[in-house]
């Protein structure tokens, strides 16, 4: 394989594994070259970025290829395992290998949705509408359930009637920010996926 580096070769992921399996049969050069042709077609001129698999916590590194279309939109061409990573060495499981279908999905929620008490359906609403309502709800619930001093005279400054849970898919920095803001609002009911 004089023209294909190990790194390029591994970039083809599953196809690469198949190629390795037949390497002993003498087809390796031809297959690698044909793979390279395919690769060129798919990611030629693409921008290479680095990401991490969004599923379990092995922390497999991903290489993502994108291309900017003439209308300015960004197209995701390919996600594959990063061959440089000491953790996954380019490998991915079925979930990581299909990460593109999680990233780009017609099933995404398109706009903020609101369902009034007792209503039978969602209503598409503006961001301003939901954010304003949520802020009012938080203030009302905080004021209704805030305890400044407990029964023993201790200063406790806690909001008892609001809980926040989540964050296992946050970037760490978002998680830190969520903790800071929720503690800032006085929340004591704070939870994520570690226990469950």
């Amino acid at each position: 394989m004089p023209t294909v580096t190990r790194r390029d070769f591994l970039k083809v992921g599953v196809a690469g594994a198949g190629a390795l399996a037949v390497a002993g049969l003498g087809f390796d050069v031809a297959l690698a070259q044909s793979t390279k042709v395919k690769q060129n077609l798919r990611i030629a001129g693409a921008k290479e970025s680095h990401s991490i698999c969004p599923y379990c916590a092995v922390g497999c590194s991903l290489v993502a290829y994108t291309r900017q279309n003439s209308d300015g939109s960004v197209q995701l061409l390919q996600i594959e395992g990063d061959p440089d990573s000491p953790i996954n060495e380019g490998r991915l499981c079925p979930k990581g290998a299909t990460a593109m279908q999680l990233a780009i999905s017609p099933r995404r929620v398109e706009s903020p949705q609101y369902r009034a008490p007792g209503a039978r359906g969602w209503k598409s609403v503006s961001w301003d509408f939901v954010m304003g309502k949520i802020a009012q709800n938080i203030k009302a619930s905080r004021d209704a359930t805030f305890v400044t001093t407990d029964g023993n005279g201790n200063t406790v400054n806690r909001t008892e009637g609001i809980a926040f849970a989540g964050g296992a898919a946050f970037s760490s920095e978002e998680g830190y920010f969520a903790t800071k803001l929720m503690r800032g609002l006085g929340l004591v009911y704070l939870e994520q996926q570690a226990r469950v």
């Binding site: 395992g81 979930k95 203030k139 849970a165 760490s172 704070l190």
Partner: protein, 805 residues
């Protein structure tokens, strides 16, 4: 993990309990296989179900779910009775030599200090005999004192004979003997074993003690702190580690500082009640010693100019919970109509459970629910789920479309504590917004309301720092810098948490991440990987210190001072963690002062973080005992063979009972079969119900049924079956299998049924079969009961009935 994924290749023996890494963490599993193929390591898999992990293990043990305390207990007993422990390590690196106070006792399944009315222990007797002048613990390095931890431990575990282990776990005594023989060889200084586990160990009412059992065995064998050793938890979500570190968790502040408690008036009160105290003249007690500095620096980061010396750096601003405020407590409070609003982000309560039907009732009791997610969830849709009359649900529900991981940068921290930075690859799809921008926007709107209207104690809201170019849209880069912290005098980024101060001149968002983002740049972005092993893995041990960054201080194996002997030589010279070269410690980033000679008479003991300076075989840090003890799951088909009168944990938290609702636990007469739940390779919890290829690979919910049981009920693969518990039911396909089978436990034959967790009433499968998704939620079956320490639900062991439909 104390160690990290790639390090598993350094092990001689791998014990896997409560986990199925070949299927649930397949890419991480390559390092298990490397150990096996390259070093001839042996793999022992103890699991209720024969899986692909079992298929490549050297030994597979069919174990009854929830009985691993007895399995580890038997191994500990074998090691103690046959003097197979690592003698020098146990004497010098553990608290085996510490003397326990007179009064500690254990009888008939109860430790001293039990109060049955409170279902709680007074732990006063679970402590050391101390010198009144210094407060230091008495020690007997001969380990012969009858109240030494070593002797008490030996007595405690003497009941875990091979026959007792077999009777509790269902593992044949002869098979257990073979495992004990292999494990017993790992106390030799040049051998090392790793223990790997996942939520199959934590999701029990004895979850905390299940993990502690493994840790005790590792301390006895001298395997903590060493490459190829440790206690290694495989975490199940991309950034559950990072967001535990950053304290989205009721009981902690960032960096595992305890949340302040009512009654603590200032930082000194807090430190006195929270930080460990030095208990040996040679203990460094690093965490305890610096607790106040870490807290103060975080208060300064959060409350800025409002945090001053005169107001104890705004210590009063930190909310102080009255009692437990964890996952199940949130829904328990909603059932009691005390919880008004809930914000769920990337987490769906209705599927996660436990006890989905009760959780849905709790959601319906809320005034308002905010769901932040990229895709619909069983929580965002709970109010019109199949069988629910939406008009009767008075909860106001908001669904906010959020960005996916690939639409934002920031770090993910893996199970091995490696914090890896990712790029923003794509712009947000449609109207989706970043979670942290949504939270900042909401926060600022709340702040504006408090500015224009009266309200309760707005001071913390007004003071919270937003030192970002755009406070409504902080970048993750800005936040990463804040987390690292800075010196307010010089304006420079802090380089180490050892330099943090308690006088308000330094900040940190999370002290364990100090050192991750220096003035020279963001170390989490580093990419020195296997493209150049000679440069990037200089020790050859697989630490790869130039790939990303791991906490603390880029250390790759925690507690690594314990990887070397008293003179600083690695226990196994072929697998060094750190070693003393006569002038300094070299190898991994040392968990020790870099130039402290190990032969200095004042040299610190190896475990620098706790008050003892050594690993704790006996601890008063747990609510359910200083030593682990086997208790039956709350729902079990047998009485505990060790102490039938105290069969299940005497301190497990019964939420329903405590709230005045009737307990909803089933009896073996009504629900004769044990059930456990798990993941499949092709799905991750619930979000993958929206991924077409994965749904094609695993399209339908099913339960796995042992063929002996199936045959007695006339059930064949592909039949529709109903599995029911005291709390709910699932109606799914049967898969009849040899992967599960009968066990003999306490003289009885018992069966275990396996239930994958992934399906529900939302997703591609549910869309194709809208009437049935109502009965696809595995957690409709699971009990609403919590471990005494962490309040982890007992997802992994409960009783069900099985019927062919």
């Amino acid at each position: 993990m104390t160690n990290h994924w790639r390090d598993i290749k350094n092990a001689d023996l791998i014990l896997i309990n409560g986990a199925n890494p070949a299927e649930a963490h397949p890419v991480g599993f390559q390092w298990f296989m490397r150990a096996k193929l390259d070093r001839g390591a042996k793999i022992i898999h103890a699991d209720p179900r024969f899986t692909r992990t079992s298929a490549v293990a050297d030994m597979y043990l069919r174990i009854r779910t929830g009985s691993d305390v007895a399995y580890f207990g038997g191994l500990i007993n074998h090691v103690l009775q046959n003097n197979l422990f690592h003698d020098e390590y146990v004497r010098n690196y553990t608290n085996a030599s510490f003397i326990v106070k007179d009064g500690y006792a254990f009888n008939e399944g109860l430790f001293s200090g039990y109060d049955p009315t409170k279902r709680a222990y007074n732990i006063a007797t679970w402590s050391y005999e101390t010198d009144p002048a210094t407060g230091y613990a008495h020690r007997d390095l001969t380990l012969q004192h009858p109240r030494s931890v070593f002797q008490l431990m030996k007595t405690h575990y003497s009941r875990y004979t091979p026959d007792a282990v077999s009777s509790i776990t269902g593992i044949p005594a002869a098979d257990f003997g073979k495992v004990a023989d292999l494990v017993g060889q790992m106390g030799a200084p040049d051998k090392v074993m790793t223990i790997v586990y996942a939520v199959g160990l934590t999701h029990h009412t004895t979850g905390g003690q299940l993990i502690r059992s493994g840790a005790l065995l590792q301390l006895l064998l001298g395997n903590m702190g060493r490459p190829g050793g440790g206690m290694n938890a495989e975490r199940g979500h991309a950034n559950i580690q990072g967001n535990t570190d950053h304290a989205i968790s009721w009981e902690i502040l960032p960096g595992y500082l305890k949340i302040p408690a009512p009654g603590q008036k200032n930082r000194d009160d807090y430190v006195a009640q929270s930080a460990s105290k030095k208990q040996d003249p040679n203990s460094w007690n690093f965490f305890g010693l610096n607790y106040k500095k870490f807290l103060t620096s975080t208060l300064k980061a959060w409350y800025g100019d409002a945090a001053t010396k005169d107001n104890e750096f705004a210590f009063d601003f930190v909310p102080k919970p009255a009692s437990n405020a964890s996952w199940m407590t949130i829904f328990d409070q909603a059932l009691k109509a005390k919880m008004q609003g809930l914000i769920l982000s990337g987490m769906t309560a209705a599927s996660i459970g436990p006890d989905t039907n009760q959780v849905r009732q709790a959601l319906a009791n809320l005034k308002w629910l905010v769901v932040m997610d990229a895709l619909p969830t069983t929580s965002s849709e709970f109010w019109h789920a199949p069988g629910v009359d939406a008009s009767k649900v008075q909860t106001e529900v908001f669904m906010l479309p959020c960005t996916h991981w690939i639409e934002k940068d920031g770090s993910f921290v893996n199970s091995g504590r490696w914090s890896q930075w990712k790029d923003q690859v794509l712009p947000p799809q449609g109207q989706a917004r970043h979670d942290h921008w949504i939270l900042s926007d909401i926060f600022h709107r709340v702040k504006a309301l408090y500015q224009s209207q009266n309200g309760k104690f707005p001071d913390p809201i007004m003071s919270l720092t937003f030192d970002y170019a755009d406070p409504l849209k902080p970048t993750l880069d800005e936040l990463a810098k804040e987390i690292n912290g800075k010196d307010l005098t010089t304006g420079k980024q802090m380089t180490s948490f050892a330099l943090l101060k308690d006088d308000g001149t330094t900040t940190t968002g999370d002290w364990i991440y100090t050192g991750s983002y220096l003035d020279s740049g963001n170390l989490m972005k580093r990419r020195g990987g296997i493209q150049d092993p000679a440069t990037n893995d200089p020790t050859g041990m697989g630490f790869y210190p130039n790939w990303a960054w791991s906490w603390p201080l880029n250390r790759r194996v925690m507690y690594n001072r314990a990887s070397a002997d008293l003179t600083g030589k690695p226990w196994d010279p072929a697998r060094p963690g750190i070693s003393w070269n006569g002038a300094k410690w070299v190898g991994d980033v040392p968990d020790y002062p870099p130039t402290m000679s190990p032969t200095d008479p004042n040299a610190y003991l190896p475990f620098i973080m706790n008050g003892e300076g050594v690993g704790r075989l006996f601890s008063n840090g747990m609510n359910d005992g200083p030593f682990p003890e086997h208790y039956e799951p709350v729902e079990s088909p047998v009485q505990n063979p060790l102490h039938p009168t105290n069969s299940s944990s005497p301190v497990a938290f019964y939420y329903d009972q405590a709230a005045g609702r009737p307990n909803r636990f089933g009896t073996p007469q009504e629900f004769p079969y044990i059930a456990t739940s798990y993941r499949l390779t092709e799905h991750e919890h619930y979000v993958t119900q929206h991924v077409p290829h994965l749904v094609q690979l695993q399209p339908k919910p099913f339960v796995e049924i042992p063929e002996e049981l199936a045959s007695s009920k006339g059930i064949k693969s592909g039949d529709q079956v109903r599995v029911s518990s005291k709390r709910g039911k699932v109606e799914v396909l049967a898969i009849v299998t040899k992967r599960l089978g009968p066990l003999t436990v306490a003289g009885q034959t018992v069966y275990q049924i396996g239930i994958p967790i992934h399906w529900g009433d939302v997703g591609i499968s549910a869309d194709a079969d809208p009437t049935h998704g109502r009965y696809w939620l595995a957690n409709a079956l699971t009990p609403f009961v919590g471990d005494a320490n962490a309040r982890t639900p007992e997802f992994k062991a409960f009783l069900v009935n099985l019927e062919k439909m």
